[in-house]
Subunit: 155 residues, 2 copies
């Protein structure tokens, strides 16, 4: 759908969008908060989700758990308004800068999915690494919002 | 190596680090700039790279092009000092907050790998999407730094 990648110099230094999708047809996507700069989530898009995101200026992802295009906020109401889209040097990952107002991005209820911090330094036992919570307040109650929808988290 | 994932509630709401590596043994990693908040790069780690990063407080990745652990900055000198590591709700992606001083993260020579911005709005032709450069100055000359090393960008 997008311009064909046929020249590494063009991919790296050119002006044309030539995204690389992996063998499952997906490209990883980072969404960061327009206001705070915090990273909100990490997801994936297929070519159609990327096109819809560019055109509608609302983030669309590929849900790997539901195996379909996912208009973020469809259930929760927490739509991500896209302020800017960046792509990296080899065009195999995407960065969205999004406005979520006072909303949340995380299906567990927190504002950012990255609400836990890993301890740094020497490890005595990798099975016993206790993290610190950086967000203490949930923005919404997932049970009320998602009701009977299956949890996207897989073991 | 890390704690076994055997309970979704624990993965999402627990204190223990229980990262999920994909079938290639990798987890996606985002590195953002401690000073500016900008996203610098998107990469991958295997379990050993994650352990080394936690212990040494310097970012280690898995190089998919070279198929080995990659101590970022080994060739270029632009080491990433890790200020914080966060993990997301289902523990299948990692966010590093790093200090690179006045250095660069991008093998093309720019400070951030995400130096191009995708135009938003209605698309007439997906093969003709012209991006805008957001960084104009290279921090280093990749030819001088990497010499004969193969370019990691693949078509």
């Amino acid at each position: 759908m997008f311009k064909k990648r046929d020249n590494i110099k063009e991919v790296e230094e050119g002006k044309y969008l030539e995204p690389k999708f992996d063998k499952n047809g997906l490209i990883p996507v980072i969404a960061s908060d327009f206001k705070t700069g915090d990273i909100l989530m990490h997801g994936y898009m297929n070519d159609e989700a990327l096109k819809k995101t560019i055109e509608t200026k609302e983030a669309h992802y590929w849900s790997r758990s539901r195996n379909k295009i996912w208009h973020k906020g469809q259930t929760s109401g927490f739509v991500q308004i896209v302020k800017e889209i960046r792509i990296d040097d080899d065009q195999d990952s995407v960065w969205l800068i999004v406005d979520i107002g006072d909303g949340a991005s995380c299906h567990v209820g927190y504002r950012s999915c990255f609400y836990r911090s890993v301890p740094l330094g020497e490890i005595n036992n990798t099975e016993n690494l206790k993290m610190e919570f950086k967000e203490n307040k949930k923005i919404f109650d997932p049970k009320k919002v998602y009701r009977d929808e299956p949890n996207p988290t897989k073991l």
